[in-house]
Point group: D2
Chain length 295, copies 4
């Protein structure tokens, strides 16, 4: 069993930390929200007084924060965590941030002899609670092997995408593609409906043909085709439009930085922005289906 | 066993007719190309002298032609087939044409008491030869039930999409979505490659995540990820860029006629046109991957 | 002065015919709407009993109809006008239709020795009333020279675009570009507004820079920048969204027929379809500005 | 006459500084390139030993640098210029950078009581040499009035776009719109050409119709329509594809930061990226016309 520092106990971080406690690790936690720190202390964690305190004797330090600026500030800010980490600690950043920031953080840590992997997740709050997250890891092979058993306590699929930063790149490639699948499937279903087809039948046909994709299988955007998905529940999230728009922002930044042409991803981003501007930011991302409806 | 008239013995039609002969039906065939008519006669079909001759005593008449104008001319032209079909013949048009033309042909036939289904196929030349085509059928329930056993001699999956024309609509919805999957997957893979990721690993990650789709599963557009698909064989088709562009033309016509917004489908169409204009029309449609390459 | 047959007395056709009467020509008119025929008879036209009657002794026959099917039916239908036109009549079709239909009509007429030009207009109802329309003419040089003085009685700018059909092509190229200018200008203004800029000042800057275009000059889509344009009058048309969408449909058909890549035109078309599907089809086409608003 | 510090003597900065010298100002210059500093010293400037030296007694300090990181480093880096500027100096940053960076620089300077305007330019190297640049200024009214006479020594049109940062926003709105005009005009011309129209005639028609825009007037992308523009000279720049792509990157960042939907701008950006990936980055930005050509 390991000693694990955990910083960032939000909707995702708290249940992830709980799963580490449940697996028998010695977990020491910090968050600006004292309430959630106390809660986790009651559940078996050690409450830390500040961020740097989580580094104390830790084999692993895990961070799960909202954006790159928080991650940078935590590790590289004035009196940052970088100055408090031991040589044999491995840092695992599970935040979803841009690849360039992940790389520069990794380089800064490696310069001081501290191992680093970026390990963004997918699977949402439900996956965090159930311990079924997907982790997409960037970092050296030996570090991947070292962190894999820890991540398995919180997730089901653990992928090694490549060098430092590759976890972020792979996640953002996947989510950009997901937005295209969702918007494209929505377009196709609406065109069928406009011609009088039954969306259940059309979905069934495409699911068994070359139009098959994850959204048709598990997350149909048309209300009533699959029970128990957000579209059949007034588009209650699930994965919010605002979060998909944030990920698409990271994707376009990654495209820009690498000179990649992503015309469908860029269009998809703008369709999601139109949806946000109609006030649907807090709905599930499958609500893109409604953008194509005849009102 | 049935008596079946078959018109249109091209790359698709000839092997389809062969499968009907092999199943034991009495098949009578016509094509403007006398050579292929003779060939099929040697294989057991009755050679007809003209198109109208195929109607003679037929339980079913099947047509497999390149475009709507050929279908219209065949059935509704001067001294068209409509005047030679018996009351108890069921017409099965397997051509891929626009839904509006399919509907108006169906109406013209029904007005004369002749049953009609549109039944476009997918699966390509290989599927036609192997008898594993997918048929997407539009027409009345009783007519679907009547034609289903015949279509099973030529295909594996037989779907009933709805009323007359619905087969064409469903096929075109599927193929529009397929073009989006292919182009979107290509973009995502290229962006990963531009960041130094291995496309095999990135494909594997997305295939096991929410980016999963038919192209990643069975038809990866990046050379070397899946052996034996067109991308690993210099983009030898397969399903040609020119044919995908034709189907996308039908899709946009269907969108226009129904007031459907299909921004990703329209963009995908234009990316395929850019590819055609670079001289790649005869390559496999997965060659859209090369459009996003850094030269 | 000439003897001129005129068919199609709608919002555009009626004032055009009036301007011909006012110029002193002998005008003989027909429309399915008897009321407007009677009105024009009171204003000096000869009322015709049917479409073919307008051909009687005419130097020119002008048609102004809603769509290609009406034009084809008029000239080439059963007992069509083609059978009643004299050898020395010049046919001027002012309808906005697809180029392929214009060409095939022109060929059918030329085969019978009848001269033809396509001459679609821009300038709207106001321009028709004021006699300030723009005519974009396709046809032989000698026919252009023959019709030019007649068109000058109804318009201000008379362009010769090329051979038969070229008038339609040039008009549709222009209107596709116009939709791009309008949507692009709207995007740019909204982005400025979202950053706190005054749209009047931003418009003034872009009008004097390389962003200058017809919409900024004469038809600003942002309410309050230019008085007396539709955007400053609740987007009362003007040129309706539905009509722009129709023209964009013709443009994409022209792109399809010629293998032209028009990605921005196709996207613009789909943005206009989204606007229609929100119920704004009867507003002025500058209302595309509202699609980009934060609600 | 004023004492003016000038930092950044590249293709744009050097001729701008020359025009200030020619106008009789006392100009003190710095650049990392010693050669150009010596040149300007021979032409009447005072050569500074380092960046901070240009602040010495200056009424105005002007910077003209390639990107935000250079600007930030110059003013706000270790021992940055901010520590060497007098209270009565007005800082004029003419670099094209993102609005957020301009705002935060402005705030940092204002906090120390130093006046700031952002004043990005358009007009290119030719305009810099001729003293005919356009300046788009963001800052307080009194500071605009103070810098206007100085900018008039280097340019012809001096606009006041709004508060600090507004100059960058307005420029980027304009250049995003320009890219849309250029790509849209190219599409429309190619579609006309594909139908057999003469691009000179089609350009003339659209220039006199509602398709009129700056590119048709002054910078036609089709070779041979306007002499002496880049398209008629093998697309020698002019304004490079790479620079337009950079500006479009800033535009999309500005869209992202403000939640603006810019679907045409985003598509235009990706078309320019496709062009870069074909190896055309160093050509003039009107070369987007060639992307739509049939090869």
């Amino acid at each position: 069993m390991a000693k694990i520092g955990f910083i960032g106990l939000g909707n995702m971080g708290a249940p992830m930390a709980r799963n580490l406690i449940a697996a028998g690790h010695q977990v020491q936690v910090f968050d600006l929200n004292q309430h959630v720190v106390s809660q986790l202390a009651e559940e078996g964690a050690r409450a830390c007084k500040n961020a740097n305190d989580v580094a104390e004797g830790a084999n692993f330090v895990i961070s799960m924060l909202p954006a790159a600026k928080h991650v940078q500030s935590l590790y590289l800010g004035d009196d940052g965590l970088i100055n408090h980490l031991g040589d044999d600690t491995i840092v695992i950043d599970c935040s979803t941030i841009d690849a360039a920031s992940a790389k520069s953080l990794g380089e800064a840590l490696m310069d001081k002899g501290i191992a680093f992997v970026d390990a963004p997740v997918s699977g949402g709050v439900a996956g965090a609670a159930a311990g079924t997250l997907t982790f997409i890891v960037g970092g050296a092979q030996e570090h991947f092997e070292a962190v894999e058993p820890i991540l398995q306590n919180m997730g089901k699929n653990i992928f090694h995408a490549g060098a430092i930063g590759a976890g972020q790149v792979a996640k953002i490639c996947n989510n950009m593609l997901l937005s295209i699948l969702m918007a494209g499937t929505s377009e196709a279903l609406q065109m069928g409906i406009n011609h009088g087809l039954d969306p259940k039948i059309l979905s069934e046909i495409m699911l068994n043909s070359s139009g098959r994709n994850w959204t048709l299988e598990l997350y149909n955007p048309c209300p009533g085709v699959i029970d128990s998905v957000p579209s059949s529940n007034q588009y209650q999230p699930g994965f919010m439009v605002d979060l998909m728009a944030k990920d698409l922002g990271l994707a376009l930044e990654a495209a820009q930085n690498s000179g990649s042409a992503t015309p469908l991803g860029a269009l998809s981003k703008n369709l999601y922005t139109l949806l946000q501007n109609q006030g649907a930011g807090a709905k599930d991302f499958s609500a893109i289906f409604t953008l194509f409806e005849k009102k």
